[in-house]
């Protein structure tokens, strides 16, 4: 089974992993031939496969060491839960879509006019839910001890040092972005973007029931951000980042001495040194001019272009301000995969590098 482990290790390398995930994500949601994914049978097959994989993985000491770390156990749970509930919402959504296609109301509509007394029906459900959660927490707490390591020691930095697991997506972004973007700007924009969502979503349909066909755009955007960028970045940051933040496959031993050559290069170096064969100009504005223009163009030209072509419909429906805000948020989100590929394909470090002012993009 060594070939299998090596293959999995190879597949989990971020460039390959994320390329695969991007492809699978869009195919699963958009390719008509894959709609069977949203059936109970597909769900059972996928989860059996996932469960078997984890069960098999646990026989491997390296895999076991990282997955059974007390704080990592809930992340495995989260991965399965997120997967299941993403599937469930699509299963219910596609079922409703089929009904709507036949001019029938969504399933929820059949019962939404019927009013049920809270006592006993809702109170009963809540009570059951509380009991189940209590039992689960107690069993979980008896069998899995909360982690405690050596006493805090400011003089001894562990390798790797990791943020709490729910911030590991942000920490993973540090690989591609400077701290002010990965740790401040993008988290801030995630919050702002989520809060702005109800105000910049021009689609009035699909309010109060599961559907996919009526809200393709919104669901694709949200799930791309949530499933692909947020959850998968956490998984990568938790399970595939070892000492020195190097990549390690799930079956690979965390070797402190693993050496990964750093050959990252800034855009200004590519432009001035490699292409023009000149030295780097002393003035940072001249030096980084190309990068600054590219970034500005990214945020201005693309919205203008899309507003007149592909997104013309949105632009007319939303008006200038909403459209610009939507585009800015979208472009910020998409900048992450762009930056990832720039790194993987061209070893690009910074598009704009002004270390004089801690301003690197």
């Amino acid at each position: 089974m060594q070939w299998f482990k090596s293959a999995v290790d190879w597949l989990c390398n971020p460039p390959i992993l994320f390329t695969l995930i991007f492809i699978v994500f869009f195919l699963a949601y958009l390719w008509k031939k894959l709609t069977w994914l949203w059936t109970p049978r597909a769900c059972v097959v996928i989860f059996l496969a996932g469960g078997l994989f984890v069960a098999y993985g646990l026989t491997d000491p390296n895999f076991r060491a990282i997955v059974t770390k007390p704080d990592n156990v809930p992340i495995v749970g989260m991965l399965f839960l997120t997967g299941f509930f993403s599937w469930l919402s699509m299963y219910l959504g596609t079922r409703n879509d089929a009904r709507i296609g036949k001019n029938l109301p969504p399933e929820e509509k059949l019962e939404s006019e019927i009013k049920i007394l809270v006592w006993p029906d809702l109170v009963y459900t809540e009570f059951l839910c509380m009991i189940l959660w209590s039992v689960l927490l107690i069993i979980w707490s008896i069998y899995l001890k909360a982690p405690i390591e050596e006493p805090a020691n400011p003089a001894k930095t562990p390798n790797p040092s990791k943020a709490p697991w729910y911030f590991l997506g942000l920490q993973e972004m540090l690989v591609y972005y400077d701290p002010w973007i990965a740790g401040v700007l993008l988290p801030g924009l995630i919050i702002v973007g989520l809060m702005a969502l109800p105000y910049i979503d021009p689609n009035k349909k699909g309010n109060g029931y599961y559907t996919f066909a009526e809200r393709k755009w919104e669901i694709l955007t949200f799930q791309f951000g949530y499933l692909v960028l947020w959850v998968m970045m956490i998984i990568t940051g938790t399970f595939f980042r070892g000492p020195n933040q190097n990549f390690f496959g799930p079956f690979e031993r965390w070797d402190v001495h693993k050496v990964v050559p750093l050959s990252n290069i800034n855009l200004s170096e590519v432009f001035w040194v490699k292409m023009l064969n000149l030295g780097l100009p002393g003035n940072w504005l001249v030096r980084e001019g190309l990068g600054i223009i590219l970034v500005l163009a990214y945020f201005t030209v693309i919205p203008m272009f899309l507003g007149r072509t592909l997104f013309k419909r949105f632009f007319e429906k939303m008006g200038m301000v909403r459209f610009q805000i939507l585009m800015f948020l979208l472009l910020c989100m998409v900048s992450l995969p762009i930056k990832m590929y720039l790194r993987w394909l061209f070893n690009m470090h910074y598009v704009v590098a002004i270390p004089e002012y801690f301003f690197n993009i």
């Binding site: 109170v123 107690i138 982690p147 001894k156 002010w180 401040v184 809060m195 029931y209």
Partner: protein
């Protein structure tokens, strides 16, 4: 007297003055009393008397929001118990945590608290996913979605501040890595873009001794002052804000038309 059926002990208790002084309605076996059971109870009256049948379905709500709230209560209760034993000082914090397991009878309180916290983070994400996938953030619920986003952020902050309290290597360095980000805040962090521009003559206004990270940690590194600060925020500050926002959140669920459903 022999033909009168004997009342059960429970029925007798139910007819007693004590019971009737607490529950001012008859047994909930008819619509009126079932309504009163909700209306006359300060906890249950967070609910309306009646809800949409579609909104009652587990497959619709996943009970994710309710689970989040329940876990918040679990965290409150277990957290309160932990506070009896735990002293937030660099001297005692770590050994108090060890004692929680070794000395306290049935010492799984910290486990319940920690796993409950992880579960709460996951539950609140799933709740967001559910609300998104049912389009429930759309009018008239835009504002409540915003409150929900704030509550999600507070949940993460609660978890983050709590992460430091065991005062072991895991805690200290996770918070060091997390709070290092604050150093890069534009203009407010000493390694953030623009901070170098803020100076009077040769004197920098934003330094490691007064920037955003310093405000967060009450020091230049994660030390005793940070431990106390995180403790207070974790046990009092953030839960208070979260409780207020939760009150608004639940109230708005009702005011915006109850659990969402097709119009």
């Amino acid at each position: 007297m022999a033909d009168a059926p004997r009342k059960s002990l429970f029925t007798q208790f139910r007819e007693s003055q004590i019971w009737n002084s607490i529950f001012r309605h008859g047994p909930p076996d008819n619509t009126r009393n079932r309504s009163l059971a909700v209306l006359t109870n300060v906890f249950l009256h967070l609910h309306p008397v009646k809800v949409r049948k579609s909104g009652l379905r587990l497959k619709y709500t996943w009970c994710a929001g309710g689970t989040t709230f329940f876990l918040f209560l679990v965290e409150t209760v277990t957290g309160l118990l932990l506070m009896f034993y735990y002293r937030p000082t660099a001297e005692y914090a770590f050994s108090d945590i060890l004692d929680l397991r070794a000395q306290v009878p049935l010492g799984i309180m910290r486990e319940i608290h920690r796993w409950g916290a992880h579960a709460m983070v996951i539950a609140v994400w799933l709740h967001m996913l559910r609300v998104f996938m049912t389009g429930s953030y759309k009018p008239p619920r835009e504002f409540n979605w915003n409150i929900g986003v704030l509550l999600l952020v507070l949940t993460l902050l609660l978890s983050f501040t709590g992460y430091l309290l065991p005062w072991d290597q895991l805690a200290m360095w996770a918070v060091t890595v997390g709070s290092n980000m604050a150093r890069a805040t534009p203009f407010l962090g000493n390694e953030g873009p623009g901070a170098a521009l803020l100076k009077v003559g040769d004197i920098s206004l934003v330094t490691a001794g007064d920037d955003a990270r310093f405000a967060l940690l009450a020091g230049r590194f994660v030390g005793a002052a940070a431990l106390l600060r995180f403790y207070v925020l974790h046990c009092v500050g953030i839960p208070l804000v979260a409780a207020v926002l939760m009150a608004v959140h639940f109230w708005r669920v009702r005011k915006d038309g109850g659990i969402s459903g097709p119009l």
